[in-house]
Amino acid sequence: MLWDWEYALESLPVLLTAFVQFTLVATVLGTLLAAALGLVFAIIRQLRIPVLAPLITVFIEIVRSTPLLIQLFILFYVLPGFGVTLAPLTAGVIGLGVHYACYYTDVYRAGIDAVPTAQWEAAAALSLHPRYTWFDIVLPQAMRNVLPSLGNYAIAMFKETPYLALITVTELVRSARTIGGDTLDYLEPLTLAGLIFLAASYPTALALRRLERRLQTA
């Protein structure tokens, strides 16, 4: 048997530490950034602000059609040339956040579009200030529509955090390779890394599917 349990158990704590310290942190911060930035993008496009709105549309198309890895390299290797040096994790969070914000924008747009026109009209009829119309009438209803999709993208981002390994963040997968490199035995750490991903993402995906069904029927 090639599988060495002792070695596997030895590497597990190191992997879990890397997982919590970098993978989870990057996912949570990246999701928060993407959710906030995506909302800003969506509102700017919804209000059709001149210059800004078309610029954002072009930006979104470019970001969505080009590899995340190149975007991370730009943040990590090009920006220092302009005097902005980012820590690897910071560059990673910004890269993930901006990349996914471009997906989130569309999700928000769909969610806002799904709010019945009558809600906008009622708000206008009550001559509510646009701020109240947006933040107290439209967005709360839109949020409910988009919650499952936002969650799905959060899981997708979670599974793309290993990209950060390639800009030197010692997240789960990179730690697994480092452990393997030290002992020349990659089997256990890399297998465990995969299983940790599965153990975290599969139950979350199931929970989201349940949430989706509950929001639909309600």
Partner: protein
């Protein structure tokens, strides 16, 4: 060799890298399509072992991250005595990962064909194979193309990962340029432009294909659809999400 290279010096390398990226994307996409159909059909089977087996494979490859799969095949598998060529590792990892996502597209699209179509074909005593091949599949394919377009772009966007398993794709050539001291902004700008062009070429081809299969069904808005920038403008929120 201590001279700093310019983009012009790198043209040959970039062409070479582009060749590998296109080859990898094409082979990966073919394996992905094959697996999508096989796993997608298997996950609709009424045989429990077949359906269960397909689900385990699908959830496994969707749930573990692509880079883990890539590195596992590259670093860990040789320890079990099986050594693939790096290109094959890349193709297999991309094909398996995106094939698992694609199978959900196939399954969902088949489920989305109205039940009356299945029933009508049964009422006309088509065999299960004829029912699928002649009635359901042509209608399901129309639904599959936009999500597949998204998946193919995702696949293309994931190919840069293979530079970490020693393959000399476009991204690896960019890295070599940077390591040789070249202007980073220039090389990454060029890379972004190339990937953007590749992604758009892909969308264009799939839009043409979509218009063609829709025309076969007597639907659609004609060939002008092919010029749309986005795959399937009518996609529902989150429809492209691949969890």
């Amino acid at each position: 060799m201590s001279e700093i290279p310019t983009l012009l010096d790198w043209t040959g390398n970039l062409w070479q890298g582009l060749g590998l990226t296109v080859l990898l994307t094409t082979l990966g996409a073919l394996l992905m399509l094959l697996l999508s159909v096989v796993l997608g059909l298997a996950s609709r089977s009424h045989r429990t072992w077949l359906r269960g087996g397909a689900r385990v494979v699908i959830e496994f490859f969707r749930g573990t991250s692509l880079l883990v799969q890539l590195w596992w095949l590259f670093y860990a598998l040789p320890l079990l005595g099986i050594r693939f060529d790096p290109l094959l590792v890349g193709v297999v990892a991309l094909g398996l990962n995106y094939g698992a996502y694609g199978s959900e597209v196939v399954r969902g699209s088949l489920n989305a064909v109205p039940a009356t179509q299945w029933e009508a074909a049964t009422a006309l005593s088509f065999s299960p194979w004829q029912r699928l091949r002649r009635v359901v599949w042509p209608q399901a394919v129309v639904l599959m193309i936009p999500p597949f377009n998204n998946l193919l772009i995702q696949l293309l966007k994931s190919t840069p990962l293979v530079f970490s398993i020693s393959l000399l794709d476009l991204t690896a050539m960019g890295e070599a340029f940077r390591n040789a001291g070249g202007e980073t902004l220039a090389i990454y700008g060029v890379l972004l432009a190339i990937y953007l062009a590749l992604a758009y070429a892909m969308t264009f081809c799939l839009n043409v294909l979509e218009a063609a299969v829709k025309a076969r069904l007597g639907r659609g808005d004609g060939w002008r659809e092919a010029l749309w920038v986005r795959p399937g403008a009518a996609s529902t929120p989150g429809a492209e999400v691949t969890v």
